[in-house]
């Protein structure tokens, strides 16, 4: 059983025909070629597949593509602006908030939404905000620093 759906991905309207059981994560990667969204555990634990659905972070592995027909998505490919990397992306690079990079797309999407809703988060708010994303390399210290640094960059540039 297949369906034709329309998704607005990173500002571009995409029409695609998918099996109804296609997970959004697989739709993004296999059908739309956007392999920046990573697939780790596929049961909602690791957070690597986090994308923004109508602006809010969700697990794309726990969402069917057909369920979000007509909605807007932002993946890691859509975070950078015309002038280059987004403040969150620059902060992660600057603070060494990644090593192997597998978890990074999920962290970037999660942190982007976190800082949009709360531009000056406390340490606890950052920890709570990224608590649903696993990283096996960094030990999280530099990720947390990067989120705070991103908040600074955004404040400087606003």
């Amino acid at each position: 059983m297949e369906r034709e759906i329309t998704l607005v991905v990173n500002g571009v309207t995409r029409q695609v025909t998918v099996p109804v059981r296609r997970l959004l994560s697989d739709c993004l990667r296999h059908d739309l070629g956007l392999t920046g969204t990573h697939v780790g555990c596929e049961h909602g634990v690791c957070g690597c597949c986090t994308v923004l659905l109508d602006g809010d972070p969700v697990r794309s592995c726990l969402t069917f593509a057909v369920s979000v027909d007509g909605h807007s998505l932002t993946t890691v490919e859509g975070l950078a602006g015309p002038d280059g990397l987004s403040p969150v992306q620059r902060a992660f690079a600057e603070c060494h908030g990644l090593q192997c990079g597998f978890c990074t797309p999920g962290f970037l999407c999660t942190a982007t939404a976190l800082l949009r809703d709360n531009p000056t988060p406390t340490e606890d708010e950052v920890l709570e905000g990224v608590s649903g994303n696993l990283c096996r390399c960094t030990g999280y210290q530099n990720i947390v620093k990067a989120v705070h640094r991103a908040a600074e960059i955004m404040a400087e540039e606003s």
């Binding site: 059983m1 369906r3 099996p19 109804v20 059981r21 296609r22 997970l23 697989d26 596929e42 049961h43 909602g44 957070g47 986090t50 659905l53 809010d56 972070p57 969700v58 697990r59 592995c61 726990l62 969402t63 069917f64 057909v66 369920s67 979000v68 027909d69 999660t110 709570e128 905000g129 608590s131 649903g132 994303n133």
Partner: protein, 302 residues
């Protein structure tokens, strides 16, 4: 990894959803937030033939607050309820519990009613519904053969029944919902005046299912003595376990109550099981510790 094939239904209104569910019968499953169901599908622990996706039913994305309580529609996300100041004012236990449900990203998609229907014995929201004596409204399509369909049947043929929490949770991952039924809303009654609440739990990692948890409501009477004290435990039995410890509190002011004894009474009703995360004995120990903390905190806020 992908789910087994299924027929997909995306109804646009409640009548169509109930018709789809009636047609699918026992082979149908409702998809709301999917944060519990889709992992089960991905791991093929569940393989329904028909999936009825209610994400298009905006009419169910409601939070209604009145002087009696908070009614949460089937498509209200955890995050939506957590952020509602009206819901938090009317029923503070809801927000306390929601902040313990998984992670913020999961709460953006998961639904309150979905958590109730999923009926995980370690989940927070079933305990809240049970502790508050709330209820779940189940709707289904009426039919001429339906013995319940009588003169009172609404024009659109929809039948509904309200199931109290004490009858709704039947066993682990099992609720009273029948094939063809859709849980359209959950009702969380307000607290009496001079009531305090608490929700404490211990989990291996923040956001994990709790090894054990206790929600408590303590209400003081007109003389500021403990008039009612109840606790609901999660993770230590097949369904949320509600224990009334009013008697153990002995109608005293909160400062004179033997809360440890009250907590032991809560503990006495639990039947924890062992798994890879904790032994049954450790869970029993946790219940007593957490129950005392929760009861004290609830009494302090009353």
């Amino acid at each position: 990894m992908k789910p087994a094939p299924f027929e997909y239904h995306a109804p646009r209104d409640l009548g169509q959803a109930l018709a789809d569910l009636a047609g699918a019968g026992e082979h149908g499953k409702v998809l709301a937030g999917g944060q519990s169901l889709i992992p089960l599908l991905n791991m093929r622990l569940a393989a329904p033939e028909h999936l009825i996706d209610i994400n298009g039913l905006a009419e169910l994305a409601t939070i209604d607050v009145d002087e009696h309580g908070v009614t949460v529609g089937a498509l209200a996300r955890h995050a939506q309820v957590e952020r509602s100041p009206e819901a938090a004012d009317a029923q503070p236990l809801l927000r306390l519990a929601l902040r313990l449900v998984a992670h913020p990203v999961i709460r953006n998609r998961g639904t309150v009613v979905g958590s109730l229907v999923h009926a995980d014995p370690a989940a927070e929201l079933p305990a809240v519904l049970a502790l508050l004596d709330g209820s779940v409204r189940l709707a289904r399509r009426g039919s001429p053969e339906d013995p319940l369909t009588g003169p009172g049947t609404p024009a659109n043929g929809t039948r509904w029944r309200d199931v109290p929490a004490s009858e709704f949770f039947v066993g682990p991952l099992e609720s009273a919902i029948q094939p063809g039924e859709l849980a359209v809303s959950a009702y969380f009654p307000n607290l009496p005046e001079r009531s305090g609440v608490s929700f404490r739990e211990v989990a291996r990692r923040h956001g994990d299912y709790a090894l054990a948890g206790v929600a408590a409501v303590v209400t003081l009477d007109d003389d500021l003595l403990v008039g009612s004290a109840r606790a609901a435990c999660i993770g230590v039995g097949p369904v949320p376990l509600v224990v009334d410890v009013t008697e153990q509190c002995g109608h005293r002011p909160p400062s004179a109550v033997d809360w440890a004894a009250a907590a032991r009474a809560v503990q006495a009703g639990t039947e924890p099981e062992a798994d890879i995360h904790a032994t049954a004995e450790y869970r029993r120990h946790l219940v007593a510790v957490i129950a005392e903390q929760a009861l004290r905190e609830a009494a302090g806020g009353a």
